[in-house]
Amino acid sequence: MNAPRLVIEVTRAWGPAVEGEAVVSAEGFSPRYDLDRWSGVITKRGHKLEGVSICDKILFFPTAKGGIAAGWAFHDIKHKGIGPKALCFGITNPVMVQGAIFAGMPITEGWSQDPLQCLRSGDWVRVDPAAKRIELLRRP
């Protein structure tokens, strides 16, 4: 395997390693405020990712918004087949962590480099919670 083009170290992490397409957001996230939980599309008017599907993506959000709903919501959207592959936060909150673990969805918090500065939506990335790192593998 080729060496990653870039490595981001994360502070805290849980879950199995996954690879997928990155979606990088400049705005925080709540599955209840921002997401249509029947389509997997971010529908909040004016959200910086309005119209973007999170299905099968590796999501990068600077912050978590709200909210207790994430405790159930990740589990729900995963079973509906529209969940993301992993959640990477700058700063998250416990409900996102509880909800991601309950859903079996990898989650990380804190990063050595801001993804907004070094990653782009569409990049192919690998999240390795055990090694506490995120790797940029390919850029289309």
Binding site: R12, A13, W14, G28, R32, Y33, D34, L35, D36, R37, T43, K44, R45, T63, A64, K65, G66, G67, I68, A69, A70, G71, W72, A73, H75, D76, I77, K78, H79, K80, I91, T92, N93, P94, V95, V97, Q98, G99, I101, F102, I107, E109
Partner: protein, 413 residues
């Protein structure tokens, strides 16, 4: 994590599958945060409605009930997405309502008290200083930490359920002194006359400081605030800022002084909020076609005193033809407010009073919005102005009297 003998027995499956899975979730969360141990909790409060948990969540609860799981500590439930008396009239899905009834059945089998209220702290349980809890809805958490000096993190539905089953929660975040110290100071130079002003203050402070680890310290509050005012401030801070705690010098128990509230933290930043700042919140909403046929008093549910005041404002008036006004409260408070005549006044004016629900989680809300041509939602709650937005509402915060005026006149101001 250091686990007690009982916790090890749970993790080994000696107390059954349900407890093993519950404590495994708690251990994973605890290890994520570097928690050293579990702490016993005395009360739990969970969000569990079919709209948020979906079929997979319902199945989780069914399985727990089938396994014979049983709460070790008292647990109440948050607002849900159906008032069963209104399913047909609101055009809600009968199949989903049936599922919501099954959610309630499973929860009761687990010995959960399905109180269906997001204001348990005003109606069901008042924790004492230092008491450990496992609460969720965020509004309940920020109240417990800030106003009571109790200790709880945001606990999502499955996590609160796990805590109720095991009787404990991992000790991290708001359970630790370090996370409870103030991180920045907010000097309030605004009069804050209406509940919406308190919500606007929460928006102004929460939105630019979005972090669970931020704990604002309010100073300069000119008078002793009432419970409903602190409720709207807390709900707004939690919603816009994802915050779980604030201090108010001279008001909340961990803030006898600014120094005590900061607990040795440097005041990294000082924010001043003036009356003009509060006005700027109201001025920030756009309503180009002046649509105002949907007015909501909900999220959080109304206390008895809010119902009383609102009844006073609607007394002898009538909701404008074509406008819908929703008020939500708990079934217990609704029963009392009905006896006291408040709900009679509201209903005579044409207000719809819903019990045990919150408007932003009503099942089928997006379709309801489209069918009724509600493009804008006007409310005195800053929280619901933020939380309802995934349903494609344009939302507008207005003071309580203005909301009533808009509801009765059909004219947007």
């Amino acid at each position: 994590m250091r686990l007690s003998a009982e916790e090890q027995a749970m993790a080994a499956g000696e107390r059954g599958v349900a407890l093993r899975e519950a404590i495994e979730l708690q251990i994973a969360v605890g290890e994520f945060y570097g928690a050293e141990r579990m702490v016993a909790v005395t009360n739990a409060h969970m969000m569990g409605d079919i709209e948020v948990m979906g079929d997979a969540g319902l199945e989780h609860l069914r399985r727990l009930a089938e396994q014979g799981a049983h709460c070790r500590v008292d647990m109440s439930t948050n607002a849900r997405c159906f008032d069963f008396d209104w399913v047909e009239r609101l055009g809600q899905d009968a199949g989903e309502a049936g599922k919501e009834r099954r959610v309630i059945e499973h929860l009761r089998a687990l010995d959960v008290a399905t109180t269906d209220t997001c204001i348990n702290y005003q109606t069901i349980y008042q924790p004492h200083f230092g008491e450990r809890l496992a609460w969720g809805d965020t509004g309940t958490v920020i109240w417990a930490n800030s106003v009571c000096g109790a200790r709880t993190n945001f606990e999502g539905g499955p996590s609160a359920m796990a805590a109720a089953l095991t009787g404990r929660t991992p000790e991290y975040g708001m359970h630790l002194d370090a996370a409870r110290r103030g991180t920045f100071v907010v000097k309030v130079e605004a009069p804050l006359d209406d509940l919406a002003d308190w919500g606007a203050l929460g928006k102004l402070v929460g939105e630019p400081h979005q972090s669970y680890y931020h704990v604002p310290v309010f100073t300069g509050i000119a008078r002793s605030p009432g419970a409903d005012e602190l409720k709207h401030l807390g709900c707004s801070l939690a919603s816009y800022g994802s915050m779980a705690m604030y201090h108010m010098v001279g008001v909340t128990p961990e803030a006898p002084s600014l120094e005590a509230a900061l607990g040795g933290n440097p005041a990294r930043e000082a924010v001043t909020v003036t009356a003009a700042d509060i006005e700027s919140v109201y001025a920030s909403y756009r309503n180009q076609d002046a649509s105002c046929n949907f007015v909501v008093f909900s999220g959080p549910q109304l206390s008895l005193w809010e119902l009383k005041r609102l009844a006073g404002l609607f007394d002898g008036r009538e909701v404008h033809a074509g406008t819908t006004v929703f008020v939500t409260t708990s079934s217990a408070l609704a029963a009392q407010a009905r006896k006291l005549g408040y709900i009679g006044i509201l209903e005579a004016a044409g207000v719809i009073v819903l019990e045990g629900v919150c408007v932003y989680i009503l099942q089928n809300l997006s379709a309801m919005r489209a069918a009724n041509r509600w493009s804008h939602m006007i409310s005195n709650s800053a929280k619901i102005v933020n939380t309802i937005t995934a349903h494609k509402f344009n939302t507008i915060l207005r003071r309580t009297e203005q909301c009533v005026e808009i509801a009765c006149s059909g004219v947007f101001r």
